[in-house]
Amino acid sequence: MEPSYDSEKVAEIHRHLHSHLPSEPALRVKALESLLVEKGLVDPAALDAWIEAYTEEIGPKRGAMVVARAWTDPDFKARLLADAGAAIDEMGFAGQASGHLQAVENTDAVHNLVVCTLCSCYPFAILGMAPPWYKANEYRARAVRDPRGVLAEFGVGIADAVDVRVWDSTAELRYMVVPQRPAGTDGLSVEALAALVTRNSMIGTHRDLTVSGA
């Protein structure tokens, strides 16, 4: 059958699941996995492929490579800021949720921060799995209302003169922050530069990258 697209119907299904599935998350997941596999709706090999993809292959190192290249290749940086989806495709990184990727650049006068207040959308293909805090109620609630307070909790102080720009990515556009290149990195290779780029700097909860990579 086709989906009903009926809010009331799925709400009622959720209430049944709430009442009848195990309340412990691990048991609930196990029960559902057994059934979905038994029904033939899920191939166990596909499960392993999904898990491994984000354990072994896809993670914030991709984003870091993109940033490092942008720091060292002005033409690439221009392409990245104009159409990030196409630019990461050049590097073989196109994938989940990267179709409408936007890159936003930090400067001395601007700090960017990314959130999705409605459901935790995230650019998987370029940053891997979102950290738990990105998906947490606290971050979703506070990032738009008190970004400077949230940043302070991450150890990031923002001077009054710096404008904070919060990107609430609730449509299909996804955002990555291009952090500023740290001082004292003139001689470093692209690979060495990429090693300095933290995942949080590409979400915006880290600002000042350092040569020690902290």
């Binding site: 029904k39 499960l47 898990i51 209302r145």
Partner: protein
């Protein structure tokens, strides 16, 4: 839809907990729940906004207390029950009565293909966009009864068009199984216009569809 999921700007939430922030999955169950929720959507190309809307219709306290991918998994199971791929009885009892008639599960090759093929939500536009970069816009005051992507904190607010993004599928229609392309804009809002206590010049950007605006 007004609901507890619309968290932006809600007060009373404490510090951000950074536990497990450096592992892709915070537990084995988290990894399995993620994989199940993406693999079980498999063959059916559910509109992304039907998935989101089904998640929004979870028991509200479950929404606020359960792990993220655990919610995804329950959402995918609820969609599968709704579509008749599995019955509520089977899910509750844990006993499959028969193979799903439609069973043609996602293969490893399908996974590899999805991992390298970004979906596009842009479509041919109907007509020209009503607004240009720099235009003032005002958002709808009261929201919509069903799925929509204008957060409550940005309703009835004045903003400025920052960018035009082409015509994208309208989420409100997608949650009803309809493909309706509509002009999409990135809109900047002065934080001080959204939240009474703000005393700085920060800006909040949202990607909003043309029908979310009430006037120029």
């Amino acid at each position: 839809m007004d609901g507890v999921f619309d968290l932006g700007g809600k007060q009373g939430f404490g510090p951000v907990d950074r536990t497990h922030e450096d592992e892709p999955y915070h537990s084995q169950a988290d990894a399995r729940a993620y994989a199940l929720s993406v693999a079980a959507r498999g063959e059916r190309a559910y509109p992304i906004d039907w998935f989101r809307h089904t998640r929004e219709n979870m028991v509200p306290t479950d929404y606020l207390t359960r792990p993220y991918f655990d919610q995804w998994l329950q959402t995918v199971v609820a969609m599968a029950i709704d579509a008749g791929d599995v019955s509520l009885d089977e899910v509750i009892s844990g006993k499959a009565k028969a193979l799903s008639r439609s069973a043609n599960p996602m293969s490893v090759a399908d996974v590899r293909n999805m991992l390298t093929s970004p979906a596009s939500f842009e479509r041919e536009a109907n007509g020209t966009p009503a607004f240009e970069v720099g235009d003032s816009v005002r958002t709808d005051e009261r929201g919509r009864s069903g799925h929509t992507r204008l957060p409550a904190y940005a309703r009835g607010a004045n903003g400025t068009i920052h960018a035009y993004r082409g015509a994208h599928l309208l989420p409100d229609a997608g949650a009803k199984g309809e493909d309706v392309p509509e002009h999409l804009y990135t809109v900047g809002f002065a934080a001080r216009d959204l939240f009474p206590e703000v005393d700085n010049d920060d800006t909040i950007y949202l990607d909003l569809w043309e029908s979310y605006f009430v006037s120029a």
